[in-house]
């Protein structure tokens, strides 16, 4: 059992507040992805959990045991680094067995475990090589194997795939997900790549400016962003936002059209809709097509609605000319509303 509880963790570097009061519980065997742009504090949070950085405040519990005062080696964690950190002076075998030897395991058990994880990661033919003789993808496999060989309670990964080329990344993504699910360890995975996050995670924690904005399943993060930031950060192309003016009793005027919305006493809100949740119709928002991009699977049209940028994804057979005025009807159950001041979602 390795449930991770992060309680009120804060970190400041001098006057700069890298993390503000982070609270997060990660269930046993859960695959949690910390997602955010660079500088959002996701790596700092991971390094605090690993013990490579000390928090300014707060506590961390793994499996109910407080570990934030322990050194990295006593936390029951293993970590995979962005630049692999494969020891150049040791063979692949000794790299994978390094942690086991440090824990004074008998020779035959070291051999056994190293061979097992090497097979799992498909690097059994590389065991005698040095890291200088490996490709980036192979080094990454060694780094993951080294972490798995420890049979840790928690495995921490800091952008492990970001140094690989696109094709290899896609392949490793699927493989890593399978291997980690089979290993039954709790995993925390840091990335700035939303596709990686969406495809691998059980839950995604979207981070922004040292805060966790939303922690939810990938589909929930996508469908019901907790804040405007999440909607604009996740999804490619991102969510569309338009100003909405209150017309009373739950009616809102958006781009000249009336929509049913939340009943609040606010005079203005933000109306939001995903680009693929709209269809051409006789009645709806009028948008002037500015750029038309046929992407094969679908057609991406960047429009202008009352001077604001507004993207729509249409079927690839649709014929749209630049300058044409489109009438777009949003799918009503996919419309989301955000407060103007707090930028938070209105349920």
């Amino acid at each position: 059992m390795a449930e991770i509880q992060i309680k009120n963790i804060a970190k400041s570097f001098g006057a700069y507040q890298a993390l503000n009061d982070i609270n997060l519980t990660i269930a046993n065997q859960e695959f949690m992805v910390l997602l955010g742009a660079s500088g959002c504090g996701k790596s700092t949070l991971l390094r605090i959990i690993a013990g490579l950085e000390t928090a300014s405040a707060g506590e961390i519990l793994i499996g109910g045991k407080r570990i934030d005062h322990l050194s990295p080696k006593d936390r029951g964690i293993a970590m995979v680094f962005q630049n692999y950190a494969v020891f150049p002076h040791l063979t692949v075998f000794e790299n994978i067995g390094f942690g086991l030897r440090m824990h004074k395991l008998p020779n035959n058990e070291v051999t056994q475990r190293v061979e097992k994880v090497a097979e799992l990661m498909h690097i059994e033919m590389l065991l005698k090589r040095y890291s200088g003789e490996l490709s980036g993808g192979q080094r990454q496999r060694v780094a993951v194997a080294r972490a798995l060989a420890m049979e840790p309670d928690v495995i921490l990964m800091d952008e492990p795939l970001s140094n690989l080329d696109a094709l290899l990344r896609m392949e490793m993504r699927a493989e890593l997900k399978g291997v980690l699910a089979a290993s039954k360890t709790t995993a925390i995975y840091v990335t700035h790549d939303q596709v990686e996050a969406m495809s691998m995670a059980d839950r995604i924690s979207v981070m922004h400016q040292g805060n966790i904005v939303q922690a939810a399943s990938p589909i929930e993060v996508y469908r019901d962003p907790a804040a405007k930031f999440v909607g604009s950060f996740i999804g490619n192309p991102p969510m569309n936002f338009l100003p909405a003016v209150a017309k009373g009793s739950g009616k809102w005027e958006v781009a000249g059209q009336s929509f049913n919305g939340p009943r609040t006493d606010k005079a203005e809100l933000q109306f939001a809709i995903r680009p693929e949740d709209m269809a051409l119709a006789n009645k709806g928002i009028s948008a002037i097509a500015k750029t038309v991009e046929p992407l094969g699977a679908h057609l991406l049209v960047t429009c202008e609605v009352d001077g604001a940028m507004f993207r729509v994804v249409l079927d690839s057979d649709t014929v749209v000319k630049t300058g044409q005025t489109l009438t777009l009807a949003p799918q009503s159950d996919r419309i989301r509303w955000f407060e103007l001041e707090t930028t938070l979602a209105i349920p």
Partner: protein, 279 residues
């Protein structure tokens, strides 16, 4: 037509580039080898041959000058002193210099920039300026005329290099390697001995050799601070001044050879090791 010309000229450039390369290599080798070779010839020649002209280009393997030195009173003691002082300097400058280099590369502390500057500044003071106060202090503490006392002085001379060399070595090793070791069950110390040390050993060796050679070649402090326990340089300086030419050559040879043998013996550490030392 134009193609051929282009190829011809590129062959020409490559040829002249190659010539320049070979010429530079030959020149650099000659720069080092020729004086040592003449030193060797003159050392292995009879006193008459040394003083005659023209010179022979081949040694006549006359060992009389060297035999004279071997039998010279105090010579062997001086040689032993030199080795002892140089080894002590080597060990002390690494023991003190390497942790300083590590700290400079891995930790942020106030005054870091100033500290680096001060380290280099220690070389700004000429040794004669320091020798007199040092001699007085050494006499007061009883360190005068001891190998250890002299090694202390040589260590202060060697430390700036040891610190700066090890600083750049440690900086060349990604901190992630150490962090990975920590997460795999190492303490700061074992991560250092299991991961960092093997990686920087070639560099450490290089900086140790440097310290050895600095101490071996240092003559001023050695001459001022020792009387009975003279090192080879100080001993030869004192005695060769009034000696005939062939003995000066032989003395010079004796000074050069041990340093050469030492560097030759550890040369493999100066070159590539797992491909990271040859940066």
């Amino acid at each position: 037509m134009t193609d051929t010309i282009a190829i011809d000229s590129s062959v020409d450039t490559r040829k002249s580039g190659r010539f320049l390369y070979v010429a530079s290599v030959v020149l650099l080798c000659a720069w080092v080898i020729v004086p040592i070779y003449f030193l060797l010839i003159n050392t292995l020649s009879s006193p008459e041959a040394v003083n005659s002209f023209p010179k022979s280009f081949f040694p006549e393997f006359n060992f009389s000058s060297l035999q004279f030195f071997a039998g010279f009173a105090g010579m062997m003691t001086a040689l032993k002193n030199s080795v002892v002082v140089a080894l002590m300097t080597m060990v002390m400058s690494i023991i003190i210099g390497a942790p300083a280099g590590y700290a400079l590369s891995r930790f942020d502390f106030p005054g870091k920039g100033l500290f680096r500057l001060l380290i280099v500044l220690t070389r700004a003071f000429p040794l004669p300026l320091l020798a007199l106060p040092l001699a007085v202090m050494f006499i007061q503490t009883g360190l005068d005329d001891t190998a250890f006392g002299l090694a202390l002085v040589h260590t202060t001379l060697a430390i700036p290099f040891a610190v700066l060399i090890t600083f750049s070595l440690f900086s060349g090793i990604p901190i992630e390697l150490e962090e990975a070791a920590w997460t795999l069950g190492c303490t700061r110390l074992t991560a250092f001995t299991k991961v960092v040390l093997p990686l920087i050993l070639p560099g450490i060796t290089a900086s140790a050799i440097f310290a050895f050679v600095i101490s071996w070649n240092e003559v001023f402090a050695a001459a001022v601070l020792t009387i009975e326990n003279r090192t080879l340089t100080a001993f030869l300086l004192q005695n060769l001044d009034t000696s005939p030419l062939h003995l000066k050559f032989a003395g010079g040879f004796i000074l050069v050879v041990p340093a050469l043998i030492f560097i030759f013996a550890v040369r493999k550490y100066l070159f590539a090791m797992w491909g990271i030392a040859n940066r």
